[in-house]
Amino acid sequence: MSNSSTSDLLKPFKLKTKQQELLIRVSILCLVYILAFITRLFSVLRYESMIHEFDPYFNYRTTLYLTQHGFYDFWNWFDYESWYPLGRIVGGTLYPGLMVTAALIYRLLHFLRFAVHIREVCVLTAPFFASNTTLVAYFFGKEIWDSGAGLVAAILIAVCPGYISRSVAGSYDNEGVAIFALLFTFFLFVKAVNKGSLAWGLASAFGYFYMVSAWGGYVFIINLIPLYVLVLLITGRYSMRLYVAYNCMYILGMLLAMQIRFVGFQHVQSGEHMAAMGVFFLMQVFYFLDWVKHMLSDTKLFQEFLRITVTCAVAAGGIALGVGMASGYISPWTGRFYSLLDPTYAKDHIPIIASVSEHQPTAWSSFMFDFHILLFLFPAGLYFCFKRLSDATIFIVMYGLTSVYFAGVMVRLILVATPAVCLISAIAVSATVKNLTVLLRSKNKVAQIGSTKGTSSAKASSKASLDQSQPFQKNGAMALLFGAFYLLSRYATHCTWVTSEAYSSPSIVLAARGAHGNRVIFDDYREAYFWLRQNTPPDAKVMSWWDYGYQITAMGNRTVIVDNNTWNNTHIATVGRAMSSYEDEAYEIIRSLDVDYVLVVFGGVTGYSSDDINKIGGGVFPVIKEPDYLVNGEYRVDKGAAPKMLNCLMYKLSYYRFGEMMTEYGKPPG
């Protein structure tokens, strides 16, 4: 009696299976969205809502300018406060996507009468876009495999440390927005290839435009997609859908990309973009051949025609490329991207690129740190993709392999590999779990079939043996499922620990353990910049090493000589020479640059290590020779140090009155 009444009560809430499934999927996606946002908030909770690192300060300053002066002034801004006396054409030398996005969000919030400061919007832009990336990953997974894989991909990418490292709250840098744009463009293009519709091709062109406006890494897209199209053509998967999708995306995307001043005409002039153009013309050749094949009924004639046409086309393309490169119209690959193909190039030729710690090649522990069990699931996922080849799985395999190779060359590019690794691992997880659950559910069906069909002795014995193994299989599958969930839970624990310990430090505020285990906060950087802002005349010029340039202009509001843009190597080398010369020579150089203040960062008390001035200065001025500063190849700063080291400007500024400093009571000073 009571049973039927409760079931009557629940009847309006009882859902059909399809609706139940939809409810589960939507609630999982909502939870993942919130999770991706929350896990990036560690530093905001521990310190305060501030911008981290060095580059984001420049982005923040430009966003501030954009909201205060409007888009037209921002687009035509000439900044005289950095790179004194050269100045910097800001409008033509940055990627505006990030700033415009943050400014739009700011305008929207103000329109809804939420009076937030632009700094809060900047700090929280990256976590917001990380949450959006999880949604895109879900749809992409659904496109490649099925909705189960999409859900797992969304969960994996929400907490993956490889992505979190560059998108924590406060890391207001191009990559926070760019990874969303990258995955979105790839998703739209794969959708366009699957559907063959012009609308999706148009959408992918606009996605590409957003990516070009956001990050210099768009070169990866404009090379990966032509490579993918080439692989499809070679494996005989040419189709009308591919033709429509690629043509639409390439032409419209190229035209839209030329609207960004920093990119300009590179799509027709730079060697890095020539692959896309070559594949475009190859597509036209394929279309032409397809049409001829349709018209001709004689296959042998067609084969001859095919051979002649392909040879002519390839030859013509080769000649055109040769003429372009020889005449100088097509510029060769820039050093930044060439060092990806030939990793030893930067070490010998471009020390400023080689000195950045993010540009070092990757060791196994960085991979493990950033990916954990995804490193096991990646090869398994590749196996599943090979088992079920389609246009979409070929794309994700290519994206995965190329991005993992580049991640091996440069630590920073682990970020670009993360979506591919998460998607392929999601395929592995989804396929394995599906296999196991099929095994779990199979017992009932077999028993039913055994009872409805008749029994003969052979069938009975085989059924008996099958029934004997069923419980064992069922238990085995259950145990394996628990194992899989255990591994995934360890992954989640690892990711949260890594986020909390390694990737949530603002870099401008340092924390350390004091003598009694208490937490000591060093806010020296911000105090120094604030001192500059308060105590120096407004037109004072500050000289420092290029790492701190952006922060000085943003927080100290003073003109600097060199900053992180590093576009003028000679100017940086001049500063390096001033820092490493004897005091009287350095004074000459400094007066010629019209400098009023010199800022040095000294880590001798806390054990803070630093940068390679000699290599960069010595690259331009051969007068600076590194062996002059070392004793027998060793770096020493005490009485036994080389005389050049003891007398150079940097040493004198850092160790000024160091002998009077007491580090610990009872120990001798200095």
């Binding site: 070490k347 090649p361 060791a363 699931l377 090869p379 599943f384 091996g408």
Partner: protein, 119 residues
Amino acid sequence: MTVFSLVLLTYFMVVSGFVYDVIVEPPGIGSTQDPATGAVRPVVFLPGRVNGQYIIEGLSSGFMFVLGGIGIVLLDLALDKNRARSVKVSYAIAGISSVVIAYVMTTLFIRIKIPGYLR
């Protein structure tokens, strides 16, 4: 099949830090001097930094990753209908043991390398 094994080989090389080995040229294995006896002892894991390695530790970790991946592949092969039962069982056992060994060893390696791991 051949393409997949080539892919696995490339993956093994990249994940072992092959590019790091070529550019930075670390020693195959490190050494430290025992302060008490003065004997020279080998050090397998480069201590102190996350992004640094010796050649041998890179290769062994890369091998563990590939082993784990192959374990999952063997598990999928074990669930394939068209094989003899004994083959399926042996694949399943090999797959499960590969995954377990790979996971345990990798966790052990990272615990040795990064002293404060998960604390």
